[in-house]
Amino acid sequence: MAGQAPSVGTAAPRPRPSDRGRGGARTGAVWGVVFAAPQTLLFALFFLIPVVIAFALAFMEVRPTSMSFVGLDNFETVLGDVLFRRAIVNTSIFTAVVVLFWLGKALLIAYLLDPMNHTLQTFFKSAFYLPAVTSSVIISLVWLWIYHPNFGLLNGLVVALGGDPVAWLGNTSTALPALMAMQVIMGGGSSIVLLSAALARIPRDLYEVAIIDGAGRATIFAKVIVPLIRPTLLYLVVTGTINTFQVFEAVYVMTQGGPQFATTTVVYRIYQEAFQRFNLGVASAQAIVLFLITIVLAAVQFRFLGQNVEY
């Protein structure tokens, strides 16, 4: 968007209203405050205050009628909680696998689409995008039905191929992989669009120079394409990891964290602690751990992937 910015330097110097004296600038500032006010007030009330409260509550024991300061007790409870640790492990596995395969799939599709006919590109982008506008609850309900142990579509296929039906969401060994597979198969729509746009921006001269230099497809991919779309990849890895780490709907609708906590994720654990057991102090401490993990993930990825990025 920066390219569309007007070149202010070439404009003939003429008096600006703000040069009329301090009055003009002050009027502008007053209007600035007025225009920014509605969102700023909502932001203060429903974002800043909750964040401050979250930090305060994490050090309190909250009872329906009273609150008392308990120092780091809640964090001890959280870090000593076997289930919360299990949730962190589950969520980390889920996030690592899903982000890797989902981004790999999106990159493969965007790369394959790039040299194809324009109409064909639009057709496939729409096809891949459609599941992305459908809500996670709907997708989860559909896959709950597909994974159904007795009458599901998947076991219908397995039996037709001569196999034995599997309780996909009922086994501790298959439940989490089943959720990951669903996420990878249905995901990727908006990332394909972003990666396609990044690929389309690569100047074609660069390809031609590379071809003249004798580069093959693999070399062009590794030495021309990947470095040039690196900012988009970085953006997708960071936002994808942070968002995937918050996985909740699929767990809530499909497995309720089971079987035997095999699919209990961090946000699901926080939900249980806060809204089923009403342990708000512990839940706040858990939320702060989630908050810190999120920040660390983003920071590590920026450092690790951000080197040599030219913006």
């Binding site: 932001f43 040299p115 809500s135 309900l141 669009v193 746009a197 390809y207």
Partner: protein, 291 residues
């Protein structure tokens, strides 16, 4: 032009320096068809099951095409207690939040882009930082604030927290920043007030941005689940997405019913998607739809 080359140009971008061979293009086409079908078959299966009589859904092997299609499942959905309330609540949620977000975020975006005030840079960075923090991380304290305000299980409690949108402010600021300041100054010289400039100069020029923001906000709100789940209590206050889960809890074995309800909840966003396809497929780099 032979039939072969005509077919070829339907397949490949002939001006692309590293286009595949004709055989390669056919292989790519097959790969793309397989991968897209993997994601589309579940959606087809939702439609197919919604038209299948209940008794036929619990039978093996599954019927890929309903042999006796029926609308009974849809009739059963419409008979669910409070179903119309859930639809109305979802419409209220999506429409009101979209309207308020588009209006207030473009106002804030204009202020941050063109009307600097003391602290406006700090405010901008606060918004940017808060975009990093996912909603789920403040779910618990937000619920406490809303409880303290006495807004649990009310429309205000459902709607107000979802109207906070630093992403929308950022998006509108980016759009408005590209407008030449000279244009706004010229209007000021002509004696227009800031409110009139905003309404008559700024908004018409960023109409594509407003449309884009409105569409993605509507879809995101129609699909939202976590906040409506925790902030509503009574069946009358539930939204459609939460209602879908309630239907499945009450009728766990009626897959046709569940899928018919899912289809009804999916139709509005599918219609919006196909009506405004170009907005979704343009690839705005600040896009924050789910992956």
């Amino acid at each position: 032009m032979t039939a072969g080359t005509r077919f070829d140009s339907l397949l490949r971008d002939m001006s692309h320096p590293v286009r595949p061979t004709r055989t390669g293009a056919v292989v790519i086409l097959v790969v793309l068809i397989v991968l897209s079908l993997a994601a589309l078959v579940p959606l087809y299966w939702m439609f197919a099951t919604s038209l299948t009589p209940s008794a036929m859904t619990v039978r093996l092997p599954p019927e890929l095409v309903p042999s006796e299609p029926t609308l009974d499942n849809y009739r059963a959905v419409l008979r669910q207690p409070n179903f119309f309330r859930w639809v109305i609540n979802s419409v209220i949620q999506a429409v009101s939040i979209t309207a308020v977000t588009v209006a207030t975020a473009s106002m804030a975006g204009y202020a941050l882009a063109k009307l600097p005030f003391r602290g406006s840079r700090t405010l901008f960075w606060l918004f940017i930082l808060s975009m990093m923090l996912p909603f789920e991380a403040i779910l618990v304290p937000l619920f406490l604030v809303v409880t303290r305000l006495g807004l649990v299980d009310t429309y205000l409690g459902l709607l107000l927290p979802l109207m906070v949108s630093p992403f929308s402010i950022f998006l509108m600021k980016q759009f408005i920043q590209t407008l030449p300041s000279e244009l706004l100054d010229a209007a000021r010289v002509d004696g227009a007030g800031e409110a009139r400039i905003f309404w008559e100069v700024v908004l018409p020029l960023v109409r594509p941005g407003l449309a884009f923001l409105g569409i993605i906000t509507f879809v995101a709100q129609w699909n939202s689940f976590v906040w409506p789940l925790v902030v509503t209590r009574s069946s009358e206050m539930r939204t459609l997405q939460v209602g879908l889960v309630l239907i499945r809890e009450q009728e766990p074995l009626f897959f046709g019913l569940q899928m018919a309800a899912a289809v009804l909840a999916a139709i509005p966003v599918i219609v919006i998607f196909f009506s405004f396809q170009r907005y979704f497929l343009r690839g705005v780099t600040v896009g924050a739809l789910k992956g």
